[in-house]
Subunit: 222 residues, 2 copies
DNA sequence: GAAATTCCGTTGAAATTTCAACAGAAGAGG
DNA sequence: CCTCTTCTGTTGAAATTTCAACGGAATTTC
């Protein structure tokens, strides 16, 4: 696990915890590392919600498919991001989403009960981790609001613009790459792929954006 | 404040805290009670995110309006519900939503910093409250997933059915009242009011639902 | 209880999105 | 370098949603 310490240090769960305590802490928590190939499921909908995860390398997507095969990408997760912590912390029965590796990736799994309840004898970091979880969950909540600001828009153009604006702000630049291909972007914005392609073409023609593959440039004042 | 103790006891923030400790705890936290008339704003978008709130009586709605006047109702809150805790716990600059009284109501406001940091000398309940906040935030996260399952549907009918199914499950009954009028329901589902009305009519004709005002009955097997 | 206001279903036209299908581009594998 | 697969833009038709407008029902106000 040693080799992942740089990633783990950045993980919100371990804020305020010294790196030299990490090793024993992880042992105490019973942390495991698992590896997945691209497109493999890290969790399936319906899996028990006992564990939270940390992405160590690669990336994954939180996905819901409805019974008609409509796919919706809730979010993407990257190294040092936590995932499934909401379900574990809420002590939900099971996970309501699929979590799918979008590239070869490795993740660390921790039984959330070990953080919230047991183990308080051996290591003194539980209060810190609970505090960290609280902040992480609050931030995830805010991100949901931001996502809702995108998907709540009524038209494809508005959704795309809302999304690109957020990305531009996040990257502090009018020019950036997005972590989606066309189909995925459509699933994230919750629109039709072909309609999205058409809309992108129109917006390029109108000079509102520039685009090549997953690289976008926003015109001034967007 | 005494008269609100029954409501406060049920509030997730105070789980595991004895009622006879509540009074001194609230003093320690600097809790204030404010009253609002129907349609009055409890918070405006842009207000500082220092305080979390607890609904004591009446009800309110979390709302986002975009620059085109498109309104979206994120959620409704009722007595003993927490609100704005995500923004306060995440130490966000400001609140990204409006919170509007949907009836005459009173709310308690608590400076979140008092829960997370200071005051640890006088009262021993901070760890408990932080733990409670963590669980509350995790549950709110799950509710966002549920909301997304509704708004992520592509058609008005699908959205309405997803919403009504959730309500039926929540009420453990095929028959229930919803906390919205038509315009509000449309804003919650993120569709057009007139289209929603038309869709409801069609579904009634088809025998899928029964409806009178805000009372709905789902047919078997929904 | 009368008047004023808000709420709600309906409707038809306009705009948008979805769907299905296809062909060229790009990428992966051998 | 060739083949096979996946990805993407385009297009036209069908379906759905939005928009604007109206009148009647229901509710609020005084």
């Amino acid at each position: 696990m040693q080799k992942y310490f740089d990633v783990l240090k950045k993980c919100a769960l371990f804020h305020g915890i010294e790196e030299n305590n990490l090793s024993s802490l992880l042992t105490c928590l019973g942390a495991r590392v698992l590896n997945f190939d691209k497109k493999e499921a890290i969790f399936y909908e319906g899996d028990p919600a006992k564990h939270l995860g940390i992405v160590l390398s690669g990336s994954a997507q939180i996905i819901t498919d409805d019974y008609l095969g409509n796919r919706s990408i809730v979010s993407t997760i990257e190294p040092s991001d936590l995932f499934a912590e909401s379900f574990a912390c809420a002590e939900a029965e099971s996970i309501p989403v699929d979590i799918i590796a979008s590239s070869k990736c490795s993740v660390m799994l921790i039984d959330c009960g070990h953080i919230m309840y047991t183990c308080s004898n051996t290591c003194a970091f539980h209060q810190q981790m609970i505090f960290n979880l609280m902040k992480d969950l609050a931030q995830k909540n805010i991100r949901f609001h931001q996502k809702a600001e995108i998907t709540g828009k009524r038209s494809t153009r508005e959704k795309l613009l809302a999304y690109l604006s957020q990305e531009a702000k996040k990257n502090k630049a009018r020019e950036f790459d997005i972590p989606f291909n066309r189909q995925e972007l459509a699933d994230y914005l919750e629109v039709e792929r072909s309609g999205l392609s058409a809309e992108i073409s129109r917006m390029v023609k109108e000079g509102i954006i520039e685009n090549r593959k997953n690289h976008f440039v926003l015109a001034d004042g967007r």
